[in-house]
Point group: C2
Chain length 344, copies 2
């Protein structure tokens, strides 16, 4: 609620979550830890919208639109496999809700170029992609698009990493600016929901597990692929002999066990043993392989089940998209009226 809210006495709206992914490749353990696992929990507590952000993915994939198209159903399969339930979450395709583009169009008038250029998340992403002065306008302005995605569903909670908090702030600035123009609180401010467990490193020890870095374990990976990946997992480069004391900090095998091993007592014991020396990497990795295989096997099996009938998955997406459109269309209608863009 903005400080000058005129409806301060109205009851707080039920929490609504907006979350999603850019369908540019298979989802991996990093997604699982950072968001997917939480979504499965959230869907019981909140009204949850899960967006396949194909239109947003195009902002830097105009040279490979086919990749984005192909991955929509793949990511949907990942969702279903981990237990996101279309009867409890609304899963939809961004581009098929054109109301989101319409809202973005209006929000572009509510944010200055200077403000967009100051957005730390945008700055970082621009540097990461090496755009420099050749930033596509759609990339610079994507905070307006995100504000549209969030506010169209009047989402109050947006699960994001620490680094995405400036996007949430920018969204709320747009919301407040719009409500000031509308002279009433039509749009709703949201809060970042930062997961307790931070980012999962890649198997190579790099800070981020990322498809483009080739250091992922994907949710759909076969048992053999998982085994091969675990073998490559970065441990302690100074731990040369089994008898040497090893380091647990920055050791990806232990970081993964921290994230996924439910037997915390055994894990603590293993860490102590590794630290004082006498525990080989192969034992640690054997445990990691076991934990990951046990966790990913049912996910992979469900994924394969759902993948047998992609038509049904598309039907599920169609129904979710229709539901999402209805909500977004309601917001667009309010926005248009407030801007005097209602005539007939």
């Amino acid at each position: 609620m903005s400080q000058n809210a005129t409806t301060a006495s109205a009851p707080a709206p039920a929490p609504v979550i907006l979350t999603g992914d850019r369908p540019t490749g298979p989802l991996h353990l990093g997604h699982f830890v950072g968001s997917l696992r939480n979504r499965v929990a959230y869907q019981d507590e909140y009204r949850q919208f899960v967006m396949l952000a194909d239109a947003q993915a195009l902002t830097d994939n105009m040279d490979d639109t086919e990749k984005v198209h192909r991955n929509v159903v793949e990511v949907a399969l990942d969702y279903l496999a981990v237990g996101i339930d279309p009867t409890r979450s609304t899963i939809f395709i961004q581009s098929q809700v054109p109301e989101l583009a319409e809202l973005t169009f209006y929000y572009l008038n509510l944010v200055t170029v200077a403000r967009l250029e100051r957005n730390p998340t945008v700055k970082t992403e621009i540097a990461l992609r090496g755009f420099e002065r050749d930033i596509p306008a759609g990339f610079l302005t994507y905070p307006a698009s995100q504000a549209s995605d969030i506010s169209a569903f009047k989402a109050t909670l947006v699960p994001v990493g620490e680094d995405q908090i400036p996007m949430i702030e920018q969204c709320n600035e747009i919301v407040r600016r719009f409500n000031r123009i509308a002279k009433r609180d039509i749009l709703v401010e949201c809060k970042a929901l930062v997961p307790e467990i931070g980012r999962l490193p890649g198997i190579d020890g790099k800070a981020k597990m990322s498809k483009s870095l080739g250091n992922t374990i994907n949710l759909g990976d076969s048992a053999d692929q998982i085994r091969a990946a675990v073998k490559q997992v970065y441990t302690d480069p100074l731990h040369l002999k089994v008898s040497d004391p090893g380091h647990v900090e920055g050791n990806v095998a232990f970081l993964y066990l921290d994230a996924f091993d439910t037997d915390k007592a055994a894990l603590e014991e293993m860490k102590a043993h590794y630290t004082r020396g006498g525990l080989g990497d192969s034992i640690v990795k054997k445990r990691l392989d076991l934990v990951l295989q046990e966790m990913l096997e049912p996910i992979r099996t469900r994924r394969e089940e759902f993948a047998k009938d992609k038509g049904q998955v598309m039907q599920m997406l169609k129904e979710g998209t229709m539901k999402a459109r209805e909500v977004a269309a309601g917001t667009v209608d309010e926005v248009r009226r407030a801007l005097g863009l209602s005539y007939f």
Copy 2:
């Protein structure tokens, strides 16, 4: 057609015109000379779309959305009054064709921020409005929106002033870039249609007749208002006595007569007389008043007729908007398919 057109052997499409106005105030003689008069002629030769650009008007009128809303029907009345015929031209309201916002959203990925910042028209307009670094993003990106308006209707001709030619070039760049991605010519390049008669100066002699400068004669002005305005028309400040030789160049009274007096012989005679001395401003202005009254009286009368039933005017706009939507939706469908954004 782009140089790498793959359909070079296909017949050229029928000429389509996209034109329109920002509904921010009543239309005036400047509009009449620069565009309205031509549109009445074009509608017999071409398929003509006439857009009430309310959404674009918001880019710098977010502080007065009511003004934009109110002027939609007023500008539509001006159109009808001058003879733009809804059975021969498709008159529509931009914001009610959300497909235009959707196209804009995609086109933002096809133009860089640097390119938008180099656009001379945008540069000039930014300077004019004193935006400096606080340009609304929607203002910087409005060439993408214009490209959307033009290409949605596959317009091949766009009537614009000399100063708007960079906008047309930018539109064509977006069209070519899109067609390259689509690997076929889905969108159509357009040409600027620059009117033979240039810009009409204001009654005060300033280069541009403009509502914001308060130097207009509006199409709906009463006979008294026209008479009062003609009295104020800037002539020759050195022509103090009737017997003095007068200057025709830069003399707004004669510039207006050049634009509107159909009796060219009498006008030439009057100019010669004025130049050699012995012809008072009052005689010239009397002629100008007569010419303008004769020209504007039937326009005003028709305007008043149509204004009696604004409901009917809105109905006409609704029908035009539906027709426009159908065409734009067809283009959006092609664009979506080409970008892989088609699923169900």
